[in-house]
């Protein structure tokens, strides 16, 4: 009897370590998600939320033009941002890894990350200072006589894209740099010994080997960009809405939790599809 009791308590002990974290995740992550999924099948009638258990909110997404449009806008912006950021970040990461002396590389990286230690909200606001009608860029252009009237840069898709690219160039530089410095120099020597020129070495050897770094960064960019509310809200203005803005509108102004939940779940579906597309390059396991 005592032996068995000890045996049981021995079996239970490890759970004592893991249980708090598991319970926290179940209570405050899994359960809320299930509540949200259930809520997406409810309906807002007048000011009341009714448990109608129907897919009417999902149907609305495909029927009402502006929801679908917001999703397409989000996808377009995200793809533009991801591609632009990769194209800008790759040469930069290359220069940091290949041209900068090894002992200065750490400093060069820290410098590149430094401006991102402002608050996220403040960072978008700073771009507003730069891009506004009477902001830095327009004042400089006007003073130099390059333009006669200020360009309207802020409150547009371009402003949103610039704000996003700013952050994700840094992020992608980190993932690509990490990949580049891991490459053994032998591969490049071998390619050169076999007669490849610089461009051929890059295209056939270096680029394929750095694809994991690009893809991990691209996936992070995709996920963070498509789910972000702050940058489009501050820089994009209200002319063209992205998904997170539409979701927040349902919550804030209309307290329409069912529609907001359905839209959020559709957004998650898109992210999941993206994840499956990127999955072969991404390892979340212990190294």
């Amino acid at each position: 009897m005592t032996a068995r009791a000890r045996q049981t308590s021995h079996d239970l002990k490890p759970w004592g370590f893991v249980a708090p974290a598991l319970l926290w995740t179940l209570c405050f992550f899994v359960a809320p998600f299930l509540v949200m999924a259930a809520m997406s099948l409810w309906e807002r009638v007048g000011t009341d939320l009714v448990a109608s258990w129907s897919f009417v909110n999902y149907a609305k997404f495909f029927e009402r033009g502006h929801y679908l449009e917001a999703m397409l806008n989000s996808l377009e912006v995200t793809v533009i941002v991801t591609v632009t950021s990769i194209l800008l970040a790759y040469p930069f990461a290359w220069i940091l890894a290949e041209k900068v002396p090894a002992r200065w590389q750490r400093l060069a990286l820290v410098l590149a990350i430094l401006p991102f230690w402002t608050s996220y909200v403040v960072r978008s606001y700073s771009w507003l200072l730069v891009l506004a009608n009477n902001g830095v860029i327009n004042q400089v252009l006007l003073a130099m006589g390059i333009v006669d009237d200020p360009l309207s840069l802020a409150n547009s898709r371009s402003a949103t894209v610039i704000g996003f690219v700013h952050f994700f160039v840094m992020l992608l530089t980190l993932t690509i740099y990490a990949n580049l410095v891991q490459l053994p120099p032998n591969y490049r020597k071998a390619a050169q010994d076999l007669g490849a020129n610089g461009l051929q070495t890059f295209w056939h050897v270096i680029l394929p080997l750095t694809l994991p770094g690009i893809m991990v960064g691209a996936f992070l960019t995709f996920v963070l960009c498509i789910g972000d509310y702050i940058t489009p809200q501050i820089l994009g203005g209200n002319q063209e809405l992205l998904m997170p803005q539409v979701i927040m509108l349902q919550i804030g102004r209309r307290a329409d939790f069912p529609t907001a939940s359905a839209l959020a779940i559709l957004l998650m579906v898109v992210v999941t599809i993206a994840y499956l597309g990127f999955a072969r390059w991404i390892r979340l396991e212990r190294a």
């Binding site: 820290v110 401006p115 230690w117």
Partner: protein, 263 residues
């Protein structure tokens, strides 16, 4: 190799252009926080600290700053504690379905903050729990604990397990092994995950925005300030936040990485 080939010059120019792009907004932000005038845009009218005085005299901003610090410290401590216990349990004991448990614990990393915040908002709303800093803090533990768990778990190696076994053979109890042996050995990982959590919590906006009402955190209060348009006071708060974050970064760099290098 030629030192000043065309390619090298192009590389230098390109790197400078990217650094310029990266630094442009933050330089403008800090520069015009010293603006001696009502608008944080050119021309620069002279150096003044009046906007910093205005920030320090703003009771709501100072309260929000305190709230942010309290939420960041408490939620990070909770995240590290839960993450450490879970990592210890999974790395050191026989448990069923470890892969599933690890998957569950790290799952929040793949979901956007907006959706995590919305789930909590809808659930708390349904249960009749009012919006509060506590609710926001709970959300911050949800986003930071997976990170702490992953960092600490990745640092739990087999050589440490041997030392723990030795301690147990010498008669140490489980809590003694954990607090006197494992935690000190893992201290760089614990410290790093705490500071990383701190900075994420400190900067987090959307969860706090959704889950707080009267007492808010600093990013939410800054968001409220944005309604007044371009304002040097916002520049001053932003510059202060930047300064604090850079100090945090330096502490992390000096304490953790120096330590890691030495050992």
């Amino acid at each position: 190799m030629k030192r000043f080939s065309g390619r090298s010059i192009a590389s230098v120019l390109y790197a400078l252009a990217i650094y310029g792009f990266i630094f442009l907004p933050v330089v403008v932000l800090v520069l015009f926080s010293f603006q001696d005038g009502r608008f944080p845009i050119p021309p620069f009218k002279g150096f003044s600290l009046r906007w910093y005085e205005a920030v320090l005299a703003d009771r709501r901003l100072m309260e929000a700053l305190t709230n942010s610090l309290v939420v960041a410290i408490l939620s990070s401590a909770m995240s590290v504690l839960l993450g450490f216990l879970a990592a210890y349990g999974i790395a050191r004991f026989m448990l069923p379905a470890k892969g599933l448990q690890r998957g569950l614990l790290t799952a929040p990393l793949t979901v956007s903050y907006l959706i995590i915040g919305m789930g909590l908002l809808i659930t708390f709303n349904w249960l009749g729990i009012p919006k509060s800093l506590l609710a926001a803090g709970i959300g911050h533990v949800v986003i930071n604990m997976p990170l702490c768990f992953a960092i600490i778990y990745s640092q739990m190696g087999d050589h440490q397990a041997n030392i723990e076994r030795a301690a147990r053979d010498l008669g140490a109890r489980e809590w003694q092994v954990m607090t006197l042996i494992t935690a000190p050995m893992l201290w760089p990982a614990l410290f790093a995950s705490f500071f990383l959590s701190m900075t994420f919590s400190w900067d987090e906006f959307i969860i706090s925005f959704l889950l707080t009402r009267f007492d808010v955190t600093l990013p939410v209060e800054i968001w409220n300030l944005l309604r007044s348009g371009l304002n040097p006071k916002t520049n001053a708060v932003g510059s202060l936040v930047f300064g604090i974050s850079v100090v945090l970064l330096l502490v992390l760099e000096l304490v953790v990485f120096r330590k890691a290098k030495r050992s």
